[in-house]
């Protein structure tokens, strides 16, 4: 079972490596979206410092949605997804592996890039740590919940926009907790509570999402 999981993660990472531009585009989107806000709102430093956590988190959400179609669509199109449905490992394990690979490629880099954006917004350097930690805990949840929606909308005409509509309401708690952790820390109140809640969301998502994703994939593949 672990063998299969490792094989799938390795496969997806290898595929991402050979299609580097696809991955890079989603990450570039993250930076571009974050850069739009000052242009729209004005570059007053105090304002930017105040909205930085929220903006970075919203940008992370949007970037995550953009890359979600990549989890299953390509495999669905060339028939390899069916083979995974017929694999020797439980489907929950298989989809968990795919989601992990997706997060490694599309979510984890956001954690690394976020400090650059924080720099643009002149966020207090002491907050970088908690910002990175909130993203580290939150982006896997985004991948897991997003994968459910991606599995449900597999092959549909509405495609990416429908996926966004489905998933954004479900993302709200992660957004609130993630941005909230940094804002609490900025206010001197410590964001540990929110980080713990994020961790709880992550544990719950890891426990239940794979089965929802598996059920959705079976439904979409009939």
């Amino acid at each position: 079972m672990l063998e299969t999981a490792r094989c799938i993660v390795h496969r997806d990472l290898l595929l991402a490596l050979r299609r580097r531009s696809d991955v890079a585009i989603a990450l570039l989107f993250f930076v571009i979206v974050a850069s739009l806000f000052p242009l729209g709102i004005g570059a007053e430093p105090n304002l930017l410092r105040a909205i930085a956590p929220g903006v970075i988190w919203v940008a992370a959400l949007l970037s995550s949605i953009l890359s979600l179609h990549r989890v299953f669509e390509a495999d669905h199109a060339d028939g390899t997804l069916e083979q995974m449905l017929l694999g020797a490992a439980p489907l929950g394990v298989t989809v968990a592996a795919k989601t992990l690979a997706h997060w490694l490629v599309s979510g984890l880099p956001l954690v690394a890039i976020a400090p650059l954006i924080a720099l643009q917004y002149d966020l207090d350097a002491a907050l970088y740590g908690i910002l990175a930690l909130s993203l580290l805990l939150g982006t896997p949840v985004l991948s897991l919940i997003g994968a459910v929606a991606a599995a449900l909308t597999l092959g549909l005409r509405g495609g990416g926009v429908l996926l966004a509509l489905l998933v954004l309401p479900l993302y709200v708690p992660v957004l609130i907790m993630g941005a909230g952790a940094v804002e609490m820390a900025a206010a001197g109140l410590g964001g540990q509570g929110q980080l713990l809640l994020l961790a709880a969301l992550l544990v719950v998502a890891m426990a239940f999402a794979p089965w929802a994703i598996a059920a959705a994939l079976r439904i979409s593949s009939e």
Partner: protein
């Protein structure tokens, strides 16, 4: 022993077939015949568990495949319409991954041998023709002697004479060794069909 009883299939509001029963015993080669749209692919997908029938059930060794899930999948090789190969990988990488996912153990040597038998070129699948991709997909047959049930949906599509002959040879050998094969085809295949099911009677 793969058995199906009272299968009914509905697609797009139409009933494709109902009250269909079949049995595949070791050594059986079953051809599913019928015009386009008669439900051949749907029947194969029901047999491998990808599609739920509107009525009836499929059992493997007496147990329903819906309850067996991957216990049953381990015993099935399903090759559908799509080649099921990743464009951005080489044929060898594809084979290694697909056999690993299916739980079939292989060695680097056996993979290269299988690809050689089918004459699959080296390099990324993206650079291969349709026929070569099909060969790359079918090379799995040469590695799946240990998988009892083979469900093949139009395996001879896009194949030239030599690849078709090799496929027929592998299917016959598998049946002789006690495996079970069910396939659909529009070409005249040179396999001694012990059984034929006509789907648009």
């Amino acid at each position: 022993m793969l058995e199906a009883t009272g299968l009914e299939c509905q697609r797009g509001g139409r009933v494709l077939f109902r009250a269909l029963s079949l049995a595949l015993a070791p050594g059986d080669v079953l051809r599913l015949a019928g015009a386009n749209g008669s439900g051949k692919t749907s029947l194969l997908r029901i047999l491998c568990g990808l599609l739920e029938p509107a009525a009836g059930e499929v059992t493997w060794q007496g147990l329903s495949i819906a309850s067996l899930r991957e216990e049953y999948s381990k015993n099935v090789l399903y090759l559908g319409h799509a080649a099921a190969v990743k464009e951005d990988l080489t044929a060898a990488e594809n084979l290694r991954i697909s056999t690993r996912i299916a739980g079939v153990s292989t060695t680097g040597k056996s993979i290269l041998e299988a690809l050689d038998r089918y004459g699959v070129p080296k390099g990324l699948v993206r650079r291969m023709s349709q026929g070569q991709r099909r060969r790359a997909a079918l090379a799995r047959l040469a590695l799946s002697a240990s998988v009892p049930v083979w469900l093949l949906d139009e395996p001879f599509t896009a194949l030239d004479k030599s690849a078709s002959a090799l496929t027929e040879e592998l299917v016959a050998a598998h049946a002789k060794a006690g495996g079970m094969v069910a396939y659909t085809t529009h070409h005249a295949a040179n396999i001694s069909d012990r059984k034929v099911i006509q789907l648009d009677a």
